[in-house]
Symmetry: D2
Subunit: 339 residues, 4 copies
């Protein structure tokens, strides 16, 4: 295989992170995220929120973060509304249900929830023999690569506030979303509009690590005990702190995400120029071109990717993912090989 | 503060691990533990088991490993027997109960379970209005620094097999146990005597990481899905694979543990020479000297450690922990300062 | 209000049950279902199964029975496939998820699952990042009044056996199903085709009570402990035993169900004669006539029922439920009032 | 066997309850506890609370009530403190843990918790790697027959309020406690001192049923959904309503309990007169005389009871339980047979 476009976690981490691990390696630090590196990372991140007093915690991965966060919010009979394509609904092996909670799924064309989707679920749950929906789960970018506009997120936020719902945003690929040409949201906007979210490190240049941001005061209490109980409080918390310390120094986080997006857009451009269509409009680091099945078989010989879905009888959409580490040469070569 | 003896996770990782991260950083690898580095690490580890066909999985930390492992074994009404001092009983914020299971605790003088302890619990649970004990949890070394002999572990193993119980060993500090002067167990012995256990990396020179070893075939099925559901399947599994690849090349793992033990023994020797007693016999990298309270206050000014327990009215036992990274100079200085 | 057709649990119990409670009241009996009355009831029920060695347990209600039964079968990462209209999916306040398990729902036109529905879910769950479907949940009669034929249930059964799935049948209204004109199944057939099911007492003349039938040997072990843990083991188990003892003496159970169905058919006939259509073909004790909204408002003044669903803009389907206790006069009057 | 003193649920129900079931049997009533009989029962019960605005719910049994109630209060990482002899700790098959929560047990001589017991647990749980104790569980009468005085309960209550703990009282045998010669508590006192408790019907003359009393406003919200989710919301709620309607008309509840206690005191008196001692002072309907083992074997031939505990090498304590239905003749005969 020449190159893998399978996902955005195929390589290790940006060199600056590894260098920082080296540099600080033998300094003795307290455990469990109370080390000076994690504190420095939190201070740095805090500046992104325009003075808003958010709580910041570092966790190891997306599924872990979703299960700790969502279960920390819900009472036993409460549920979470999510798109059917949402990561928690399909690709986390029942992690949310394992904590005791139902996911109310909504079919969506583009992976994004709208107010009417949420309203329909809330309206349908009107008696005490049913769960009470309490959290609304969105991803930005979504599992099919789309991104939310500020207006869209603000509408969801307003509806949630008016209806006693908490809005939670899975930001596994938030870097790519925030640097998309379609984006008009900032980290500070998101902290204002949602109650809890996370900034994905694993898929944007970290060895591992997600940063949970809790902006709603009511959800801050004892979050560390929730983390501990679910096995998410790393003894050497410094390892996670270093990831975000480096990612948010000089805005490396955004620089890496921009690279991923630029590679995706270059791929998309090349594919479009060859006359192919897309399942969804390419706007972030996941794109879904539609190819004839024999061409897909041919591409498989040299490239790694997932076949996403059948389109009619003779074509399929594939998923190509770029990352902070994607080589421009590989992108160019893919376009050439497509010809 | 001059130096911390608070725990064995105050520093980063052995340099060889960081160098390996650097060296392999840009190689594209599959996710979720199916990378070539994790596979190589498993192959290397497998050689320690004398041809026994164990399954090996890499996880991130002790609490996570215990909760995934134990909950993977138990049916809903089954429980786990543990010493009251066991990590799962006291210091994991109810992680096991969070997965639905009771812990039956037994008070022990030295942190070790004996057959009569287990038998007493089993005998007391003789009707269907009670949980059914199914897993026996031991740690080696224990939370108070003691280690199991081969005979002791074999007796537990025989009783468990005869009574339909599974024996699980928490090896967060297994390196220190296996290199203790009191030890006569090998990794292969342990795999033969227990059904599932883990080899702790975090507390013996890794950035993070534990290696779960499943030797009982009945417990192997679908373990990866249990991991995924509990948020323990790291996207960049390579990071964990590298830890164990380096730790088990040239037996670095044992070398690091031996250093930790040697430092602990040197500390213990110096303390004994000054005329102080210990709460438990020092045999591994955690030692518990008993000092007058004013001396403890004095030591606190320069050293980090936990006060473990009151001993009478004017003395207390403190816990001193050494590690792969403990500086011999710091040990020497502590002894001097004690004078 | 003249009369309620809201459900089949509006009255107490058949007189024979109350008389039996009176008659046996002061006999001292062991607790927790080991009384002579429960044993006699189990013996009586056992005769319905043509010598098949099923286990029989008595529980208090439908939601309780479903949650105890399904959670007793599943390992932590396994899920249950159910129609979206299934009672566990919508009307049990997340009881199944509360035990840690996802429900994979399938939209169905008539409340019945078919092989292709199950196959689609199984096929879509093909990797270890997803739950593993293990139980298939069906109801007979279904939540919209339809019933399974022997051929239909046999097809599901064969598919489940061939694919390592367990088939579970919610028989809250099994009496009505088995006495429907469309039915060709017997209790013995069901025990042969499904792995576990329950026979509903609450909705067919008992004060309370469901009889769980476990025909698959692999699912029998320790079921009473599951019951105890979920609060389903009643101290005075005799109360439940008496319900089934009386219901299955002289086949009172079937007689009561036949009455309910006859009343439903009479209602349906009268409604059809007035020119109204039905949402689903009336075949059991729940029927769903479609009426103009103003007529529904009018009927509400004298009758109790649920409005089920809008049909177009000016009509709705309502649910009329008959029972063992439904008065024929009330049925006649309803038909007259409809005119 | 002549007579069973094994427990207080060996017979059915007081005749007035059965007669009420008969009398109201064919009246159509709403389901799930919203029937007129349950409402009337709640109104009647409410009068016992001196105008305090408590919420009242009817459930089916003790284990169910404890698991629904306690899990409704706790957040995921919170625990419940209980005596080691507490019903939830030993005899509910892990029901509380099944809802995700640890029980912190305390050894007690007489089944009663004191402030120092609770304080010790709270003090020991002082960091975020441990559960946070939040509920204190007491029983009145306790599992070994002792009862709380008003002063004792008030002390617990004051400590709980001052330390952010909720006090929960298991009243499976509250009737016997409140009519004990040692008692100085009223139902209104209990509602003032504890946050949630239940009044046991099953063990005091009901067919089944417990009445949950929630006096702390903060714990009232959505309790019915918790009940539904755990399978505790009975379709024919009328059955439970009738039990408490009859029990609290003319204070039948207290009259039945007084009979049970009188029978126990008569038994105790006779046993004392024969020169035997007791494990604990007999004050309620469970008494624990100590007999030589051969005498116990002899008594077994004619009487049902549990052997509670060995006392030395040649004697044991047995548990004799009386109830609302205990025949005075049987008591007399037991005393005679003892001679």
């Amino acid at each position: 295989m020449k190159y893998s476009f399978k996902n955005d976690y195929s390589e290790g981490a940006h060199t600056r992170i590894l260098e920082s691990l080296m540099r600080t390696n033998l300094v003795q630090e307290p455990g469990y995220g109370e080390d000076s590196l994690s504190m420095e990372a939190r201070d740095l991140l805090l500046r992104k929120f325009d003075g808003r007093d958010v709580d910041i915690h570092f966790t190891s991965g997306g599924t872990q973060t979703n299960l700790v966060s969502i279960s920390s919010i819900l009472r036993p009979y409460e549920s979470v509304i999510a798109p059917a394509s949402g990561h928690i609904a399909m690709h986390e092996a029942g992690a949310i249900e394992s904590t005791g909670h139902k996911i109310n799924t909504v079919d969506t064309a583009d992976g994004k929830l709208r107010v009417q989707d949420i309203k329909a679920v809330v309206d349908a749950h009107d008696d005490e023999h049913m769960v009470t929906p309490r959290v609304v789960f969105v991803s930005d970018s979504t599992e099919v690569g789309s991104v939310y506009s500020k207006r869209e997120l603000a509408e969801l936020s307003a509806f949630c506030k008016a209806n006693g719902l908490y809005l939670y945003l899975d930001g596994a690929r938030l870097g790519s979303a925030l640097t998309s040409a379609q984006n008009d949201l900032s980290l500070a906007d998101i902290a204002e509009l949602v109650d809890m979210f996370y900034i994905g490190g694993t898929k944007n240049g970290a060895l591992l690590g997600e940063a949970v941001i809790i902006s709603n005061d009511a959800l801050k209490e004892d979050f560390r005990i929730h983390m501990k109980q679910k096995g998410a409080l790393l003894a050497k918390g410094r390892v996670l702190g270093i990831q975000f310390l480096e990612l948010f120094k000089d805005d490396l986080f955004f620089e890496l995400a921009r690279h991923a997006n630029r590679m995706a857009m270059k791929l998309a451009e090349g594919i479009k120029n060859r006359g192919y269509e897309f399942l969804t409009e390419p706007v972030s680091n996941q794109i879904f071109p539609i190819f004839p099945d024999p061409l897909i078989e041919k591409l498989r010989e040299n490239y790694g990717f997932y076949v996403w879905d059948k389109v009619g009888t003779e074509r399929s959409a594939i998923r190509l993912v770029t990352s902070w580490a994607t080589l421009e040469d590989a992108v160019d070569e893919f376009i050439v090989d497509l010809g």
